[in-house]
Amino acid sequence: MVITGASEKVALQSLKASDWHLEGAFDVFYSQPQVAVTNCRHLEELYNRYKEQDADMIMVEGISQLCEDLQVDPQDIVMLVISWHMKASTMCEFSHEEFIGGLQSIGVDSIEKLCEKLPSLRAELKDDQKFREIYNFAFTWAKEKGQKSLSLETAIGMWQLLFAERHWPLIDYWCQFLQVRHNKAISRDTWSQLLEFVKTIDPQLTNYDEEGAWPYLIDEFVEYLIENGVVQRSK
């Protein structure tokens, strides 16, 4: 592990594969198609750079520092993508495991390498499947620990961030509607169904079906749009 910088898991695999002969293991290791080689020691050092003084986690300060080092805005959506890779349980916090595990799965072990990866991370948002995963991940990540629903303010912030990447013409109306008519937290079902709505229903709502089992909040949104003359009632 020290020599190759491989993770424990990979080391064990290589040793097993070579019948526990050390030299053979090296052969196995280096002949494997390398996705990424990350150096454990470097990762630990990185972690220590950002972690809190008296807790085994990275918190707001550490994250600010990280963003500075990466030269990205803390509000930049790429941070969300990174958090997703880390399987972070809640925003503004990374546990030891999450941080290390996340960077490993991205395949980097230094700030420079991470910087280089930023464009490709951003690109992941363009992939439909990954976008959906990231979008649904965002709900759990952004909400308060122990709460079932996402506060409206945070939800709106997240939506605006996410739908800047994946353009939805009605996003502003949606946020307006929520503030004016709803003013309560957002449930998980509403969150995830909204993405389906955005993906399947066209902005003029021509293929919106009242019997379509959309969450009632979305039905009300449609009513709101019709009332305000943004779209015509179909039929």
Binding site: K148, S149, S187, R188, D189, T190, Q193, E196, E211, G212, A213, P215, Y216, D219
Partner: protein, 730 residues
């Protein structure tokens, strides 16, 4: 040798007879003359035997066919003669002449047939000729009946006579009968084509015209009477002088022309049509209409649909009329009266026809649910009856009235709203002891149990139990209580919180005398019932107070709040509003109502107010009204009667109803999903609606919200592939 002999014999035989070449002609002459005499009605002088023999011989001599031909000719000749004499008949004698001649002809024909019987038998089979009788008839038909001068005239005459009869004249029915019989005898196709068909065609236009005339000048009832009469007439006519198979045909013509063609116009006729008959309870007319319209296609369905829209309209007007709605009891009585009225009509005039009954039911169901206050009003009606006892318009007893009310109840979609109000009203009745009959109350409970299930009535029954238990508790309390009461007795009703629809209330300040004894009671109760909490509901309850006025002593029956206020005047003559407010701690709105009932109501003004205005304001001062008088010793001031709710109260109740519905909807969703496991959105809505329909009609949006709530709480989830499908999470 023998053959020769035979031949000789035969030849001998033949030549013997064939000797006479004039044999045929001679024989024929005899017969011809004979037939002539027969046709002159003169058979007397003839020798049957001779004629028969002559004919016989001719046939034997192989002249049968020739004979037949001659006979035919002769007959024709006679008939032609007859024909002319009939043609010459004038006016009405025409028919008579025809008949007479027909009779004669038949008689003659029989005679002729008798004479020619041998020919008849021999020639018919051998040469396939028509038998004489038939021949005679055919010839009659062709020569006489269908002669150009007679045919048309015959038909016209018959039709003319029938027309006259229809117009009210008396005619010679016997003559017509014989004539039509003649036609029938000539062959059913003769009857049919030469008479019946034109008869039916003429009848059709006759009735078409007549119906048009009638409908212009008659009202519906009269018109229908006429139709009935005409139908009877036509049937009579047929039985008198037509073929009975004609009955159906002519009946159907009358029905079509007089009824079918004018059906809409009749039913919808202004001022006399179906709607007016219903309004004015014209039973006879309705019965007639029902019977007549049964005969024509769509007759009943049209009546049904007009009746339905009428009932729906009047019902709708009733439930949306603000004047009517001012008095709920009266309003419900109107509904009951309407139902009774139509029940009677259906029973008497429509022969209890089930299709009409169910049309009536669906009309009622429709309009009763147009106004969402009807459940409350029905409860108020029952409340009124149970308080006052039943003096129905027909001296009906309680049971009958309640049965009828339950039928109205059955039409309600929002039965849960009724339940809420019924609980409230029942509570008030029980607590104020205002119900006239315990039996009647229980009877109503049983009915509700049947409709709504045991869960609903279990709470109501709880209320009854509470009161009974309270009575027992009071008895044992007084048995053990030996405190100083100063002539004061209390009677406590202990209500179990879950069963009673009481509003929470902060107790006001009771007068000290009351506090003493009530606290003794509390101690006693809690001593025997561990772990319970008692809260005095001062917004309910009443008191009897002995009050001394200048002229007289009276006993006042007042509410708890009123008692608290009045008792203050034992130690002060005059008190301001704020004094009273402070001392009693009664909430503003209630205090104002309370003071108003004590000071501003004529005949009940035990307090005097300054200034003497109608309304209570915070600056008023109150004085004990020493000069109060009343004819009665016992004066009742302000009882708590169930009132129609005010707007804000109504909103509150409705909100509570909506809240109560949520758990019911959820329970239904869970039941459905538990058994089906996986189900799509619309099916859930359908199933849940069906499950709940005996209580209320759930709003699909409400169901959707409950589904989402269940998803949130992880009872259900959406299917990963088809978002319209839900799964049950065990």
């Amino acid at each position: 040798m023998s053959s020769q002999k035979n031949t000789a014999k035969l030849e001998l035989y033949r030549s013997h007879i064939e000797e006479d070449p004039m044999f045929f002609d001679k024989s024929w002459k005899i017969l011809d003359d004979g037939i002539r005499e027969i046709y002159r009605n003169n058979p007397g002088g003839l020798s049957f035997e001779e004629l028969y023999r002559t004919a016989h011989n001719l046939v034997v001599q192989q002249h049968g066919q020739k004979l037949y031909g001659k006979v035919t000719e002769t007959l024709k000749g006679h008939l032609e003669e007859i024909c002319r004499s009939v043609e010459d008949a004038q006016g009405w004698l025409f028919l008579e002449e025809l008949q007479k001649r027909w009779d004669d002809h038949n008689k003659a024909l029989r005679n002729v047939r008798d004479i020619l019987m041998y020919m008849d038998k021999a020639v018919i089979t051998t040469f396939k000729k028509t038998p004489v009788l038939d021949l005679g008839r055919e010839l009659w038909r062709d020569i006489v009946v269908r002669s150009s001068k007679i045919h048309g005239r015959l038909l016209d005459t018959l039709l003319e006579l029938i027309y006259r009869e229809r117009m009210g004249y008396v005619i010679n029915r016997g003559l017509i009968r014989r004539t039509t019989k003649m036609l029938m005898d000539l062959g059913s196709s003769v009857y049919r084509y030469d008479f019946e068909k034109p008869f039916l065609a003429v009848s059709e236009s006759f009735y078409s015209v007549e119906s048009q005339q009638f409908i212009e000048c008659c009202d519906c009832g009269e018109y229908l009477k006429k139709v009935q009469r005409r139908l009877a007439e036509e049937l009579d006519r047929v039985s008198q002088y037509m073929d009975s198979k004609c009955a159906d045909k002519i009946t159907s013509i009358v029905e079509t022309e007089m009824l079918s063609n004018h059906m809409q116009r009749l039913i919808l006729m202004e001022n006399s049509g179906l709607v007016n008959m219903l309004i004015d309870d014209k039973r006879e007319d309705l019965t007639r209409m029902y019977k007549l319209f049964k005969r024509i296609p769509d007759g009943h369905s049209t009546i049904r649909s007009v009746m339905t829209s009428h009932v729906k309209e009047t019902g709708k007007a009733l439930v949306t009329d603000p004047e009517r709605l001012k008095d709920p009891v009266d309003f419900v009585q109107c509904l009951l009266n309407e139902k009774d009225k139509y029940n009677e009509i259906i029973r008497v005039s429509f022969r209890n026809d089930m299709t009409f009954q169910s049309a009536l039911n669906s009309s009622f169901e429709y309009f009763i649910n147009l106004n969402n206050r009807v459940p409350e009003f029905i409860s108020l009606y029952v409340d009124d009856k149970l308080r006052k006892g039943v003096k129905g318009p027909n001296e009906e007893d309680v049971e009958t009235v309640l049965d009828k009310v339950m039928i109205l109840f059955g039409y309600l979609q929002e039965k849960d709203v009724f339940e809420k109000y019924y609980k409230q009203h029942l509570a008030k009745r029980l607590l104020s002891g205002k119900s006239t009959s315990d039996e009647a109350e229980r009877s109503m409970l049983v009915r509700l149990k049947t409709e709504c299930g045991y869960q609903f009535t279990s709470k109501l029954e709880g209320m009854f139990t509470d009161l009974k238990t309270s009575q027992d508790t009071m008895q044992s309390f007084y048995a053990t209580f030996c405190g100083y009461t100063d002539g004061l007795t209390i009677s406590v009703q202990i209500l179990t919180t879950g069963s009673w629809p009481t509003q929470p209330c902060t107790p006001c300040n009771l007068p000290p005398e009351i506090t003493d004894i009530s606290e003794s009671f509390r101690a006693y109760y809690l001593g025997t019932h561990n772990g319970r909490r008692l809260t005095w509901q001062t917004n309910m309850g009443n008191a009897d107070i002995k009050a001394t006025f200048r002229y007289r002593r009276h006993e006042l029956n007042v509410s708890t709040y009123q008692m608290c206020v009045l008792m203050l005047f034992n130690s002060a003559d005059g008190l301001t509003y704020s004094d009273i407010e402070q001392a009693t701690a009664i909430p503003h709105a209630e205090l104002k109502r309370c003071l108003q009932s004590l000071a501003c109501v004529k005949g009940k003004n035990v307090l005097r107010k300054e200034p003497m205005s109608k309304d209570i304001s915070e600056g008023d001062t109150f004085y004990y009204n020493d000069k109060f008088t009343s004819k009665l010793v016992k004066v009742k001031i302000g009882t708590v009667v169930a009132q129609k709710e005010t707007e804000p109260e109504k909103m509150e109740t409705r909100q509570r109803v909506e809240e109560d519905r949520k758990p019911h909807i959820e329970a239904a969703i869970v039941r459905v999903m538990k058994s089906r496991r996986v189900l799509d959105h619309n099916s859930i809505i359908t199933e849940v609606t069906m499950q709940l329909q005996s209580r209320f009609l759930p709003n699909p949006l409400a169901i959707k919200k409950r589904i989402e709530s269940l998803i949130e709480r992880e009872f259900l989830e959406r299917d990963k592939v088809d978002r319209r499908i839900y799964r049950y999470l065990a």
